[in-house]
């Protein structure tokens, strides 16, 4: 059985769903950021798979994946800085206890 586009797409859908579950179901802010990274990686796999199988000579999906990686790096730097700032202020990064902005 040869490996085709669908295999990669289904794999990245699985990875994205695992990341989605983690983002919704976890309380530790660092783990939520890790799950967001997982989702961004799944999207990258999709883009590179489309680039490989639909437009093999144009590499458009790979360029997009590079920009996604740039944005992900910026996001994780700022996100972890926010986590550290919150931890310094509240001594906790359990997001169920960070409810200063609630109502």
């Amino acid at each position: 059985m040869t490996i085709g586009l669908t295999h990669y797409l289904v794999l990245s859908a699985i990875l994205f769903s695992i990341g989605l579950y983690g983002v919704l179901a976890k309380r530790n802010a660092v783990i939520i950021l890790m799950c967001i990274e997982l989702m961004l990686n799944a999207v990258n796999v999709t883009m590179v798979a489309f680039s490989r199988y639909v437009v093999p000579v144009m590499l458009t999906g790979q360029v997009f994946a590079i920009f996604v990686i740039v944005v992900a790096a910026a996001e994780v730097a700022v996100g972890l800085a926010i986590v550290l700032a919150v931890y310094r202020g509240l001594e906790d990064i359990d997001i169920s206890k960070i409810n200063l902005l609630k109502w």
Binding site: V48, A73, V76, L80, A81, A85
Partner: protein, 162 residues
């Protein structure tokens, strides 16, 4: 044939590592599991003949982002607290499974216009032409540089001791 074996091994390890990120209780092991998943995704890029992206994946994700995450885990001393679930575990599971079902059904039943052309072999020169050449993505590259600079400054300002 070798490509198929590589794909199945890497796909299985990536999914198991991703499940480890969600279900392992030790936060530090969670980070290591995430690094394993990043490595497997880099291997998948190689099976997709995206060699430059595989190198970028290893340099940025395995090298830099994982170090940042482990640093944040150390700084916040979250290792003792473990990896607790929120109140929304059951709804989150349902949402994730529904999303997965919809996505898989859509992806399998869509007739993708698959091209049979062989892929560009070394992607680095072609990618450089796309990014910096005529009619390419030069403006986006410049904006990405500005974004990275502002992200660095923002991270420093937010995380600085008062």
């Amino acid at each position: 044939m070798g490509l198929a074996i590589a794909f199945w091994i890497q796909a299985a390890v990536a999914v198991v590592a991703a499940l480890g990120v969600v279900f392992l209780q030790n936060v530090f092991r969670t980070a290591l599991s995430l690094i394993l998943c990043f490595l497997m995704v880099a291997g998948l890029y190689i099976t997709l003949s995206a060699d430059f992206l595989a190198a970028v994946q290893i340099l940025i994700y395995v090298g830099a982002i994982s170090v940042l995450i482990i640093l944040a885990i150390m700084m916040t001393r979250e290792v003792q607290h473990g990896n607790p679930g929120s109140r929304f575990q059951m709804p989150a599971l349902i949402v994730a499974l529904l999303f997965l079902e919809v996505m898989v059904l859509t992806l399998i039943n869509t007739p993708w216009p698959v091209s049979s052309a062989s892929p560009t072999a070394p992607t680095t020169p072609a990618l450089a032409n796309m990014l910096f050449g005529e009619g390419g993505y030069l403006l986006v590259v410049e904006i990405a540089a500005v974004l990275l600079l502002s992200a660095i400054l923002g991270a420093i300002v937010i995380a600085r001791e008062k």
